[in-house]
């Protein structure tokens, strides 16, 4: 009975704080994405519109990385989901947040660049496989920032 009670408390705490911080994070992501929308960012090897670009004075490796943790609630839902299969909806939002946050951090590190090219995103799980530990995800975005005169 006590175990059940602990479980209920943990899952409520996880749900309350997890959902709140997720909603807050998504709001911040949307606002910042809109702000940085004008900064040309793509995954091609060559800059776009070379004719209008002017002389490239500098190119720099830029990166942004973020680590986001699973909350207890997400973990439980995912654990149950793994028994029957299907979309891990609670993890999808987590990874989506991490990806977008990483790209945002990358962009914020070079707001005066002319273009960001060769954008790559890598994902890795931290503390994976340890049953007693809450899992978390790291997303690293890296690219080349090009500066012109």
């Amino acid at each position: 009975m006590v175990e059940l009670l602990i479980f209920l408390v943990l899952i409520s705490v996880g749900y309350f704080f997890g959902q709140r911080s997720e909603a807050k994070h998504f709001r911040s992501i949307r606002a910042r994405e809109l702000e940085l929308m004008g900064l040309i960012t793509h995954n091609g090897k060559h800059p776009l519109g070379v004719d209008q670009l002017g002389t490239v004075t500098e190119s720099r490796l830029v990166y942004g990385s973020v680590v986001i943790s699973v909350d207890y609630f997400k973990g439980v839902v995912a654990g149950l989901r793994m028994l029957v299969g299907g979309n891990l909806g609670t993890y999808e939002t987590l990874v989506d947040r991490a990806r977008r946050e990483a790209v945002l951090r990358l962009k914020e590190s070079c707001t005066d660049a002319a273009q960001i090219i060769n954008l790559r995103i890598e994902t890795s799980a931290i503390s994976k496989g340890n049953q007693n530990q809450v899992g978390s995800v790291e997303v690293l975005a890296y690219a080349t920032a090009i500066y012109t005169q």
Binding site: V77, G79, L80, M82, L83
Partner: protein, 276 residues
């Protein structure tokens, strides 16, 4: 080619990279589904165990019982006139119950108020329990209760269920420790209900045995009434095992009386227990 930036949620579009289910709804759907499957699985396997136990030949039961022995052999076994008197009592009760195989009674000099049955036909009674009782009928009820457990093959039932639980938990521990934490207490609850219903069944049979031996069921509730008055004095920690899965003493006294009334058993004068 013109560079056209686009955001995932622009122009009231939905972010296609995430599912838009309500997480709470997902949790409840999954939880109820998984619990229902486990519950039904446990129930079905329980029925299978009961079926197997009911149809198991006596020889196989003896064979299984042979695997059991006291992990800690009783060192303070009492063998005197009194234990012989208990043997005779057990023999008479056994005749009433109609148990085919021989039953063995061991009296151990332990202060705890306890008695238990070991698979294979051995009943262990602690002297603490004897000191608690005044009438032979009260003790006879406790013995008849243990005999009933043998007759109902409750050891085999709980053993079979133990195997089922082990199998189920082995199945689910692979998934996630959180899930195990949730599901095991649920099964334990079901287990407690099961064992309580077995206790009540054993009480009912014990009353019938008592009635057969003495012609009435007087003294049947003596042990539990004794526990009640005792519990008022000490804060009830002495009787470990016997009490745990047994319905609370008060409710039990009432149930035993009710069962006796329903069966139309008479309550007569009790015989005093031989002095030890």
């Amino acid at each position: 080619m013109k560079y056209q930036p686009h955001l995932p949620e622009q122009d009231n579009e939905q972010n296609i990279n995430v599912s838009h289910d309500q997480p709470l709804k997902t949790l409840f759907t999954l939880l109820s589904g998984v619990l229902a499957i486990i519950g039904v699985g446990y129930g079905l396997l329980g029925v299978c165990v009961d079926f197997a136990v009911d149809h198991l030949p006596d020889e196989v039961e003896t064979l299984i019982a042979r695997q059991f022995s006291l992990s800690d052999p009783l060192s303070n076994v009492v063998q005197d006139e009194f234990s012989a008197y208990l043997q005779t009592m057990l023999r008479e009760l056994q005749q009433c119950a109609g148990v085919g195989y021989p039953l063995q009674l061991t009296l151990a000099d332990v202060d705890q108020i306890n008695a238990f049955a070991i698979p294979g036909g051995q009943i262990v009674v602690f002297t603490g329990l004897i000191d608690q009782l005044e009438s032979e009928n009260g003790l006879a009820f406790v013995l008849a209760h243990e005999i009933s457990h043998f007759q109902n093959r409750d050891h085999l039932r709980s053993m079979g269920r133990g195997v089922v639980i082990m199998g189920l938990s082995a199945l689910i521990t692979g998934a996630d420790s959180v899930i195990t934490k949730l599901i095991l207490p649920t099964i334990t609850l079901g287990e407690m209900r099961f064992s309580q219903s077995r206790e009540l069944a054993a009480d009912r049979r014990a009353l019938a045995i008592l009635n057969c031996r003495y012609g009435h069921v007087g003294g049947g509730t003596e042990f539990f009434s004794g526990l009640l008055s005792h519990a008022d004095n000490a804060a009830g920690s002495v009787w470990g095992h016997y009490f745990d899965s047994h319905p609370k003493a008060m409710a039990r006294v009432e149930r035993i009386q009710q069962q006796g009334d329903e069966a139309g058993f008479r309550v007569g004068a009790v015989t005093r227990l031989m002095a030890r």
